[in-house]
């Protein structure tokens, strides 16, 4: 695919311009361009660049959300078309997300979900006030790679330990990785409860989950088997 259109795709994500991203995706479709090429060398690098700028404090959460929205707009066109072609965008990982039981705070967890989707993850968002067993049963049903557990309160943070216990009871550990986050959560807490990682913010959570997926790919086949 020619570089100018790939560059335009990248830029549409950086600009957070859903209409432009959608139009470029349709152009790719109409002109019979390689759709996976459009995703991997056009839109996705734009998302990476947004992540870098966020880390450098030159882009902020609303910019990131707009970029994720642009990504969603492009993928709405490209994914059905890929399916028709008998192809599929490789899934970066399957993630079950939710906020612990007794906690109704949504925004951090939703933000992580939005960004994960934009980065090619398949996300099952269970919402807020989620019982521990629900995380475990959903993880089993959907064949999750990672479970993300959010908590905003010190009181509900302890529910993250319960989610880990429930997933262990289902026999999903260590195959299913567990990531925790939320304002009161610290790296030390994550280690104490036996989580596989902690993300200080939504962008860090995405980076962490990508890294966990890479680690997971290195596991022996029997440990990865569903």
């Amino acid at each position: 695919m020619n570089e100018p259109i790939l560059q335009a795709m990248r830029q549409s994500i950086i600009d957070g311009a859903p209409e432009t991203a959608l139009a470029l995706a349709q152009t790719a479709l109409t002109n019979g361009l390689d759709l996976l090429d459009a995703i991997h060398h056009g839109f996705v690098p734009g998302m990476h660049q947004v992540g870098e700028q966020f880390a450098q404090h030159t882009m902020f959460l609303p910019d990131m959300m707009a970029s994720a929205e642009a990504m969603r707009a492009a993928m709405q066109v490209l994914e059905p078309a890929l399916k028709k072609q008998g192809a599929e965008r490789p899934v970066a990982g399957t993630v079950v997300l939710g906020t612990t039981q007794g906690d109704i705070h949504e925004i951090g967890k939703t933000l992580v979900g939005t960004l994960l989707t934009a980065h090619g993850f398949k996300v099952y968002d269970l919402g807020v006030d989620v019982p521990s067993d629900k995380f475990a049963t959903t993880a089993l049903e959907v064949g999750a790679d990672i479970v993300g557990v959010s908590a905003l309160l010190t009181t509900t943070m302890r529910g993250q330990r319960n989610v880990i216990a429930a997933i262990e009871r289902q026999g999903l550990r260590p195959r299913v990785k567990i990531v925790v986050g939320g304002a009161p959560v610290t790296r030390r807490w994550a280690e104490e409860i036996g989580a596989d990682g902690y993300g200080k913010d939504a962008a860090a959570a995405v980076t962490l989950m990508k890294s966990l997926m890479r680690t997971r790919e290195l596991l022996p086949a029997d440990a990865r088997a569903d």
Binding site: G16, H57, F60, M65, T110
Partner: protein, 491 residues
Amino acid sequence: MKPKLELLDRTLLDRILREAFTLIMEPGVKVGDPEAARVLLSAGARVEDGVAHIPESLARRALESAPREFFLYDRAGHKAVHYGGDDVHFDPGSSCLNMLDADTLCPRLAQTADLVALIQVTEMLPHYAAQSTALVCSDVPSEIGDFYRLFLVLWHSSKPIVTGAFSGPTLQAMIDLLIADSGNSAALKEKPRAVFDVCPSPPLNWTDFAAYNLVTLARAGVPAELISMPLAGATGPVTLAGSVVQHAAESISGLTIHQLAEPGAPIVWGGAPAIFDMSSGSAPMGAIETVMLDLACAQVGKYFGLPTHAYLVASDSKLVDAQAAMESSMSAVLGALAGINMISGAGMLDSLACHSLEKLVIDAEAIASAQRLARGIEARTETLALGMFSQTGLHGDFLKLKETRALFRCEQHFPSTIIDRSSRGENDDEALHDTFSRARQRVRELRSSYSPAALSAETRSRLLGIAVRETSLVGLAGLPGIEQAAPFPGI
């Protein structure tokens, strides 16, 4: 609306002015410079034994002729500082003798290398609209100390400058420097780059040099900034209102000399008043009463419609600590709310005796917050919230709204790394860096990203010519601070 803070009601303001106009007539004002005395005498003032008795009518005519606003320009000729209205700008404190050593936390005599570093940091911080001739460099002979620091600022910076002269001969050399920088004297008059602080001696004394300074600056078309500084309880009345009267009398009399010398010449109603600390005998710049004096004095200037200045954002602490942050940020906020056009003092510690690069970068954050506050709360959308709620309903997903992305940058100030808003979570096993440590890092970053000022070859040559002329008069070998014109690769 923009928030506005005033400390004087109209009744008190009228009393202050009545007494100030009375003071300049009786007992009158000492005027040391013969030319200043001559212009006063020829305009109708009575001058006897070095004391001028200035009638209110004469002073009011002078107040009328002073311009209500003017601009300072950067080297590229762009308007960079608006002296007028309620626009607020900040510059570092000036004429400091010592520099806080960030390693030993002890003050040491400032040198040209310190001034170059301070200029670089100030140049990189947009919070400072102007440079100041911040340090008196101990490695430069005192006879040209004022001249040489202006030379260094012109060499290393493109911003406007708040400066001042220590003597008559160097004042002329400093004006020569500015003319060289602008190209010619007409260009300097048209687009002034610097303002000169001129200080009467309290109480009510325009000394030989100070009065000469006023007359010379007015005739050169170089803006003057009146810096009256009564010490309430020592060199001025103990009451704040009484010292505001003295400040007004000194400022009105100085302005009268200035305007009689050249009607319409640009002038600023400035000051550095303070209370006198009855325990230590010091002039506490961080005291709330000092801030109140500054604000009240500026309010009097604003009543006349004049451009204003004050000395704030300085601290009495010896270290860059909680006291320094508290005193400096408080006065930055109050000064901004008072709409003072130029607020000098950032970076200074120890009652103006010590400067600190680290404090300068921390103060910049306080200044940014103060400027944000001064902009006030605006209605930026057709409906304040209804339109946004109509999109989100009770789901509350405001982060995704177009309005959020379009407006968050103008609604929120984004602090630098000086301010730590991160969660503890990521680093709970590591020792956290305190504000001073983060400030040291920021100073390093700012200096390493500094680019030398864009001086044309002609301007360089003209500036160097004057610098060599003046330094050779006092036997100074070389031009310290100039070899450091390039960025500091080792920093």
